[in-house]
Symmetry: C2
Subunit: 250 residues, 2 copies
Amino acid sequence: MHRHIADALYREILSGRHPPGARLPAEVELAERYGVARGTVRQALADLGADGVIASRKGARRVVLGLPLTQSFSELLSFSAWARALGEEPRGRVVELTRREATAVDADRLGLPVGETVYYLVRVRLLSDTPVMIERTTFPGPIGEMVATFELERESIFEELGRRGVDLARARHQMEAIPATAEDSRLLGLRRAAPLLRERRTTSSTAGERLEWSDDRYRGDAVSFAVENAVAARSVGRLLSAFGEGGREG
Amino acid sequence: MHRHIADALYREILSGRHPPGARLPAEVELAERYGVARGTVRQALADLGADGVIASRKGARRVVLGLPLTQSFSELLSFSAWARALGEEPRGRVVELTRREATAVDADRLGLPVGETVYYLVRVRLLSDTPVMIERTTFPGPIGEMVATFELERESIFEELGRRGVDLARARHQMEAIPATAEDSRLLGLRRAAPLLRERRTTSSTAGERLEWSDDRYRGDAVSFAVENAVAARSVGRLLSAFGEGGREG
DNA sequence: CAGTGGTCTAGACCACGTG
DNA sequence: ACGTGGTCTAGACCACTGA
């Protein structure tokens, strides 16, 4: 029910009925309108607040802030969802898919012993037939065996894993600017040492089990990442690293 | 009360009494321990969940995930807090502080009319006497007048504004990889076109009033940004932009 | 001063998980 | 089967906002 109310209010905001700056109806009024208790309305409003759509101050009606930068968690993980939101057909060219033994870096990232079997996948992702990103992903053996059966040129790995019941719950991202290596510039069609935005990511299950790690490199002129944070939602932070920490192992 | 309970539980987790992977006491048990209703305990646990400290699944006890990457909102904004966490003395060299008229970009970012008075501050920030970041910040007139009185070589602007009662509530960040301009490379002591991590940020009050915007450029080899997200906390997203969107106005 | 959101209480039912 | 978290109800008091 609270989800339904949040959706209804969000659609009203999208429709322009409550433009940015407008004040929303009071909680009691909404409770009456939807025939629910005030607590349920508050839960719906909390959902919208967490997305940065509305703000609240004690004593005053809630205010519409604007539209959130993204709607779903999966969009941060999924190149495919991002491409579709841009009106593009997500595509990927598989450069390499190998089964190999975990390196020290893999072992650290995935929480496995060195030498354990992992799957290594390299894909170049395209927008409008232009390469914009190189994806170098390592999966633990069991996940890799599933991934190897996917249609990697077209399917979204994350969406497909989700459909098969894999519990993708949390991700940790690390973002840096690096110069393109020889292979990077060849695959992306850029000059040597062009600036790339590197995102290194580790995805875990609810229980903390590591499900993949990836080194994704975006053309600097093709993409930007957005983060929004509020005082109440303290889930974003600057990594405590400097000078060489984080290495060059990619 | 819910804040007190959240703090108490967080301290218990920090102390190692509930190591990562451990299951927390049930809600009813905590309610009994603190002599409050179950709803109050749930509110405290929601606070910890938003910080990524614990996870919950229907039917099972809450699980401790680990420590968040950062404790406070101000750390993402504040170079000073970041430097201190690295054991460094935060320092900044003021390159420029001018009062000028708002450009179209300033007007858009700060929600002001073009030509309105703004303050423009350029600082080079140092770690271990090495320049690692250039900060180009624009403040609306009233905020700028306060900032102009600060000891800009040593003080943290955000911390100082907070102390003076300015309501810094929300920030929107955008991160990209760009090549260093001639001025960038001169101020940072890098070669031309070295990869930089650019963070553009707009900070707002609770009511949505814009308080500053900044174009910060970090040495690519000196810093990385970390983001952690969970399914429940949908506050982080990839910006929907590609190819030139976002401009080169810096 | 009336209205509003923030907080808390004391119940209740349900779907889910774990043992 | 039982305990657990997710959800919802129907009240209540307070601090704050805004007219």
